[in-house]
Symmetry: C2
Subunit: 166 residues, 2 copies
């Protein structure tokens, strides 16, 4: 079951969260069918419900110019309902636990969710997509073409040709 | 060429950045061979140089428990040297421009880079990986198993079985 806010057997929270080092801006929000964390998918699916990503001014519509060229987009969002302090977690609630970085749990020091979605359409400053897994109203952080379908527009740099030393 | 801080022909910056809505914590740092933005790869490669991800206490070593089970990890980092205000960009510096969300440029409202890396080894609170593209000293935000190799540990939820209405 989704964590409400409890600490489970085998889990450990850090004593206190350090102060923030930098700030994120919420650039829009995500509309999904899921209004309770108990209903959200664990992972989005590309044949899942069509969701709507609304991007605010001054970032849209101009920042979306050219996006229709990409079928797959990477979406970053802020998991605003998640605890951030549980370094050892027990997702199955069975007492076995592992480190937060071995999990895709929403509970993490920086609660940033990432999904690769399928672009279904655009309406002005909003995108229709499939493949999300988050709560309705989740704050949006970023959208970029998925790396699998993207070729850099900028000229190559020396690092592009570097490989591991033999 | 990499942007130093200039605005190029055809580009547009927003007038001012809104205040932050939430704070991120730098949980460690990334050591790479690239000490200048002019040398960084445009995209990391899995046969690229071995880089070192150092995770700070209190997040490691405990938060890394179990990570060796995954060959592919998703890494999120803060592009601390990037402008955040350019909504229309000209990566080729040729006057043609497109929206920031149609690019994987480091210059974006929330300068969060994402890479999928190959885990080569672990030494206590540090990971050795291939596939990064960022500057030496880049602040670390998160590490999670790449979705392609991850099966949720937590029980399924109703949303996992929802598909688009016919």
């Amino acid at each position: 079951m989704v964590r409400r806010d409890e600490l489970r057997a085998g889990e450990r929270a850090v004593e206190s969260l350090p102060p923030p080092d930098a700030g994120v801006i919420f650039i829009g929000r995500i509309r999904t069918p899921w209004t309770d964390r108990l209903l959200c998918p664990r992972q989005g699916r590309h044949d899942g419900p069509v969701c709507r990503i609304e991007i605010d001014a001054p970032w849209a519509p101009e920042g979306l110019d050219g996006i229709e060229a990409y079928e797959r987009l990477e979406v970053l969002y802020w998991l605003h309902r998640s605890r951030r302090d549980i370094v050892r977690q027990s997702p199955a609630s069975d007492g076995t636990a592992r480190g937060v970085f071995s999990l895709r749990s929403p509970v993490r020091p920086n609660p940033i969710g990432t999904s690769v979605v399928r672009l279904v359409g655009r309406k002005g400053s909003a995108l229709l997509v499939q493949g999300l897994d988050c709560l309705d109203g989740t704050p949006l952080l970023d959208i970029k073409p998925d790396r699998s379908g993207f070729t850099p527009v900028a000229p190559r740099q020396p690092g592009d040709d570097e490989t591991a030393a033999a």
